[in-house]
């Protein structure tokens, strides 16, 4: 039996070089990586499988837009085996890369529309690639808003880039933190509190949200109160992943695979997936 489809999803990684490593917060680091023979060729919202030999592999979203450099950025939080070992990698170090995987953010759908991005915590890492893309093709979009939530001011990711996004990218940015000490002049409170305050035209806005499952529960309620139709809301989901090609079964949510059909899903489709956001 040998009907031979072309080799596609391999388990052997390509070896990328980390040309720059920059700490962002106490637990997150930003890596700039370059592949030897090619550009990654990713879209905003896609992810790669990052690995170190003998340690393991982890799915990580690409944090930069293909419009910026030939390399790409990964923002990695220290949580376990692979991420901790990656945090020990210095500039010039090498890491394994497979991908890009997934189908990414709904660029087409956003074109000519207002775009509302909602980022909770580490959720800004994947959304940054969309932000950068929007900045680079600003005329393709109408009003662009970015809501950012974090636990404390110190854990806000990419804070040094907000001004550039605001000024050059003409993006309206609101950031809020759960708790803050003296000196913080921004909002304090949950990210959901920001939603009632902003201007939204429900039928010409596309929402892209990325954050932990608990955030989605509350954000969705607020968005629905503002009458945004479900088919204009996109959520990015996280699941365990082993292969990245819809085989291993780990990232399956009902009958879809996050690695193939996601990680970004339109909300009305999620309604048919009771396991998605419970």
């Amino acid at each position: 039996m040998s009907d031979a489809p072309p080799d596609q999803g391999d388990y052997r990684p390509e070896i990328a070089t980390a040309t720059e490593v920059r700490p962002l917060t106490a637990t997150e680091r930003l890596f700039h990586l370059i592949l030897p023979h090619r550009a990654l060729g990713h879209l905003p919202g896609q992810f790669v499988q990052v690995s170190l030999p003998g340690i393991g592999e982890a799915p990580i979203s690409v944090s930069s837009s293909f419009t910026r450099t030939s390399g790409f950025d990964l923002c990695i939080r220290r949580t376990g085996n692979v991420s901790e070992a990656l945090h020990r990698v210095k500039a010039g170090g090498r890491v394994g890369i497979r991908g890009p995987f997934g189908c990414g953010a709904p660029l087409e759908k956003c074109m000519g529309q207002d775009v509302l991005m909602i980022a909770g915590g580490l959720g800004l890492a994947p959304l940054r690639s969309l932000v950068q893309y929007i900045c680079d093709y600003r005329d393709r979009f109408k009003k662009v808003t970015l809501l950012i939530g974090a636990r404390t001011p110190e854990t806000l990711l990419f804070a040094d880039e907000y001004n550039a996004w605001r000024n050059e990218g003409k993006i309206n940015i609101e950031a809020t933190v759960d708790t803050a000490k003296k000196g913080w002049t921004g909002s304090v409170g949950l990210i959901t509190n920001l939603i009632p305050q902003i201007e939204i035209w429900p039928t010409s806005t596309v929402v892209v949200a990325c954050g932990p499952p608990i955030m989605y529960r509350f954000v969705m309620r607020k968005l629905q109160q503002r009458h945004i139709p479900d088919d204009r809301i996109y959520l990015s989901l996280e699941r365990r992943m082993k292969c990245g090609m819809g085989k291993c079964g780990h990232c399956q949510i009902n009958d879809v695979y996050v690695c193939l059909d996601g990680p970004v899903f339109r909300y009305d489709r999620l309604a048919a997936l009771p396991e998605a956001v419970s």
């Binding site: 340690i55 393991g56 085996n81 901790e84 070992a85 020990r88």
Partner: protein, 259 residues
Amino acid sequence: MNKLRVAFYSLTSCEGCQLAFLECEDRLLDILQQVEIVRFREASSYEGGELDADADVAFVEGSVSTAHDESAVRTIRMRSRRVVAFGACADLGGVNAIKNRQGNEAAKERVYGPYSSWIHTSDVRPVSAVVPVDFTLHGCPVDKDELVRYLYALAVGRKPADPTAPVCFECKLRENICLFHKGGTCMGPVVRGGCRAICPAYGAGCDGCRGLAPDPNVALMRTLLREKGLNSEAIRRRVDLFNASAVPEDLRRELTGYA
């Protein structure tokens, strides 16, 4: 690269788990390239005292059953960056804990008679009941291949994988015939695997040396054992072989059927 400094210690045990390390045989010399053994009384002499080595990883075999064990394990904890509960005695209390169910005085009286008062022993506890434990190697004895994987994982600075699938899963992968189909009994459905179902593969039912799997369906287990004619007493003896003090009381009641 600095070698990982590894120490092996033993408390109340049969020293079989330490021996399992020596039984890695042809891989032993490879392992020694990655790790430096700083304490291993069973196989080496060394300068200094029994417990005064600073280690990256201490493999502690055996359960805590005396004041001496207890102070030893506290010293080991202070001196070691990581502590591994090494084998069923350290992980669960193991066979030693059968004594807990009999009572220390009764046990001493039985074995030492009029000389009981010379002997000191306390309730048997797993290592984790005395000091925090970072990792656990399950089994009585530990599985050699798993031990090697552990050492390599620790040598490259990562948490070793700790599989939780029940014994049944690996039993199927080995194409064993289920003990229940052969007319016997087995604790495999509720016991944590990782042993590659060695007992069923050699025709014997699992007795649970790796402890309970997560979220065990103990009620169903009891039903199956009852169907095969085991009464509460027989189930209790089975559970107590390695888990006399390791199974939480409520699960134990449900499993044995004791009110």
